[in-house]
């Protein structure tokens, strides 16, 4: 009779196991995308039995929530204000802030992977990150208004929403494609081009409304 060799049992350390599981989630998101995260895949990647995932995190959603709490997925408002620094005008602060935003996102490839999967894959992790985004943008709006006052005749929330949406989307897309609408989006150099245009757009949106027909030079 063939007796199956039992696996050499791991040393018992719940903390370590939990960390291994959470790390595995990050690696899978990065390598195969958020959609590839599943109980079996995580257990395999972590080298832990899947029953432990159920025991420690309840279910996949619980695991997502734990992962969302453990990770660093976003810039903080303080960081952002510091990046804007002593910008003399609201426009300058916005330009610096959006550059900072892009740089911080680039530093967090897992966040970009989640953003890429957001519209298609409404998991608890996605919801958690969306909440962070909304909270941050509200805080930031408030802080900016305190410092610079409300811009006259301009819609600051719409402006930042549009530009942040474009930046997030293009950064996420750059993970898999090289060109969008004829513009290279992969490298940081290419983004200089985009930021030049973004700067001009900001100036336009914050400029006092011009009377019609004054555009021709």
């Amino acid at each position: 009779m063939v007796t199956k060799a039992r696996m050499q049992p791991k040393v018992r350390d719940r903390e370590k196991t939990e960390r291994a599981i959470l790390d595995a989630v990050g690696r899978i998101i990065l390598r195969d995308g958020l959609g590839a995260v599943g109980i079996n895949a995580v257990a395999r990647e972590a080298g832990a039995d899947k029953v432990l995932i159920y025991r420690y995190f309840g279910d996949l959603d619980g695991l997502y929530r734990a992962y969302a709490e453990a990770g660093d997925f976003w810039w903080s408002v303080e960081d952002m204000l510091e990046a804007a620094g002593d910008a003399p005008t609201l426009g300058a602060a916005l330009k610096a802030g959006l550059r900072h935003h892009a740089a911080e996102m680039r530093k967090r490839p897992v966040t970009l992977a989640v953003i890429a999967a957001e519209p298609a894959n409404r998991t608890a992790l996605v919801v958690a990150l969306e909440e962070v985004r909304e909270r941050r943008s509200l805080e930031l709006m408030k802080a900016v208004a305190d410092r610079y006052g409300a811009p006259e005749g301009a819609d600051l929330a719409a402006l930042t929403a549009l530009l942040a949406a474009a930046i997030d989307y293009l950064l996420a897309r750059a993970r898999t494609i090289r060109v969008y609408g004829g513009v290279e989006i992969k490298t940081e150099q290419n983004w200089e081009r985009l930021f030049a245009t973004i700067d001009a757009m900001i100036d336009g949106a914050l400029a006092p409304a011009r009377p019609k027909g004054r555009k021709r030079p």
Copy 2:
């Protein structure tokens, strides 16, 4: 002995079956997202045996390609130029064009669903739509340059890429969320607000570069 009742065989009509299968693809994308499209799901939804999918389309990629060819996923350049109509300036044409773009996208929920899944789900259908997008934007750039000439000191490609990215992304996100960055994005009315800001951004990006320090009113 129990004899299983055979299914009442369908009338034999390959064309009709193929259409039923392709229609099923669209319904699934719309209802459950691009990620839910699979051989079994499509066969079930179409009420056809899955072996017919293999026979008629080869495999899932072949099915995607057939679906991409059969469908109407995008505006045509002629339509777009007509929408811009007799806009007197490049800026006016751009504003009208982007509004047209958004309206046309809204009319094509399947396209929006595919865009939503694009970053996460690189199927043959996604690739096909990406190709359409790139081809269209190049054609359009050319047509615009022919009519209005190249804008001085402005990066037309970057400008349209950024604004189209923001619009596509927010429209796709509006399928599942209500607010982005504090701005409502669900209804067409809410979009009026966004378009007002987009107009100002376009004016800014197309305005001749202003000398520095001239911003304070």
